[in-house]
Symmetry: C2
């Protein structure tokens, strides 16, 4: 679904951990009082704390769940119809909602973005993006039929051969990293679950974030 | 670190997705105005939306990162000194912070709870707990030395043989599920990355949540 949570902001939460909070919380969500920044008793990090009702407002990384849908020797990619990175390519993925499993979230996003029915089969990898406090959970999935078509967030949805992946027109570094590892696995006829931090030092220069 | 985000609450976000929001957001964190529950344009789920500054307050599942620290044929377990489930056993795990990778979060929690130095080696599994909107990311790790001792959140920290795991005194169903799969993998001399939803239908009756 459309979800305007920003995907690649320029803020860097990691740099602010010890000295100041990301200023996303100014007022208490429970009682509306202006919060204070303090280190609660027994903790070591600054938190937004309500001086009135004492609620501690924790902020945590968000999960983006997605999958690489496979059909014979091709994979399904979507060209983004929304910002950020409108017009660039990705596999189906989006922010996980409350009450879902990661598998359900990946399947829902695939249905929404590509009207594509899939069956999740293996965990492909988990990719941490500490600079934006996101964690991608990516599955390999089996496309069930060819009745896919663009959802409201996609301009195009296409089955792409691994030799035709639009490497210079991928939406995000994590998509590039995931697909590069995927192609390598397929070429080596291996199946593994990856765990990595993105961006890596080897990142292509055409990404601005 | 001590972090009072509740771990196993009795609320069930999944049941409230279509009709009402979990009532954790009453006031806008940006401007302090009382929020309204509405489905924003282009979306399908109810969100807390500020009628004054229009901020949409998304709520997302939280990541708990942890590891199973290995030393020869034993693993390191901690007995919890804090609620929930005080006095029961777990492997080191806790809520991921902004600006971290999942690996860093798992290593930090292990240091905090058990003063234990580890090196992460493989992704053991990802376990979704949709009833509490949490996702556990669990690694296998190599304990680097025997200088472990209880941190402030632990009553005891012990190296335990797989035949001595206190199955009926584990803190959470996800710990039970993870360790059951771990023991099975070790017995079969396999290494794989799991992905599952917890609790499963086979869950032991001695857990209340």
């Amino acid at each position: 679904m459309k979800n305007t949570q920003s995907s690649y902001s320029s803020t860097c939460p990691s740099k602010s951990r010890s000295t100041t909070l990301p200023n996303s919380i100014k007022y208490c969500a429970q009682c509306g009082t202006l919060v204070e920044e303090k280190i609660p008793s027994g903790e070591t990090l600054l938190r937004a704390v309500c001086p009135s009702c004492q609620t501690i407002h924790y902020e945590n990384p968000k999960i983006v769940a997605g999958c690489i849908p496979e059909w014979e020797d091709k994979i399904l990619l979507c060209r983004r119809a929304i910002e950020p990175r409108i017009g660039l390519w990705t596999f189906p993925a989006g922010f996980m909602e409350l009450g879902e499993s990661t598998e359900e979230a990946a399947a829902r996003e695939t249905l929404e973005e590509a009207h594509a029915d899939i069956i999740i089969h293996t965990l492909f990898g988990i990719f941490s993006l500490p600079h934006v406090s996101q964690v991608y959970v990516v599955y390999r999935a089996q496309l069930q039929n060819l009745n896919f078509k663009p959802g409201p967030e996609s301009l195009e949805v296409e089955l792409v051969s691994l030799t035709d992946i639009p490497w210079e027109h991928l939406a995000f570094p994590v998509i590039h990293e995931s697909l590069a590892r995927y192609v390598k696995d397929i070429q080596a006829a291996t199946s593994q679950s990856h765990s990595a931090v993105v961006p890596t030092k080897q990142h292509p220069s055409f990404y601005s974030s």
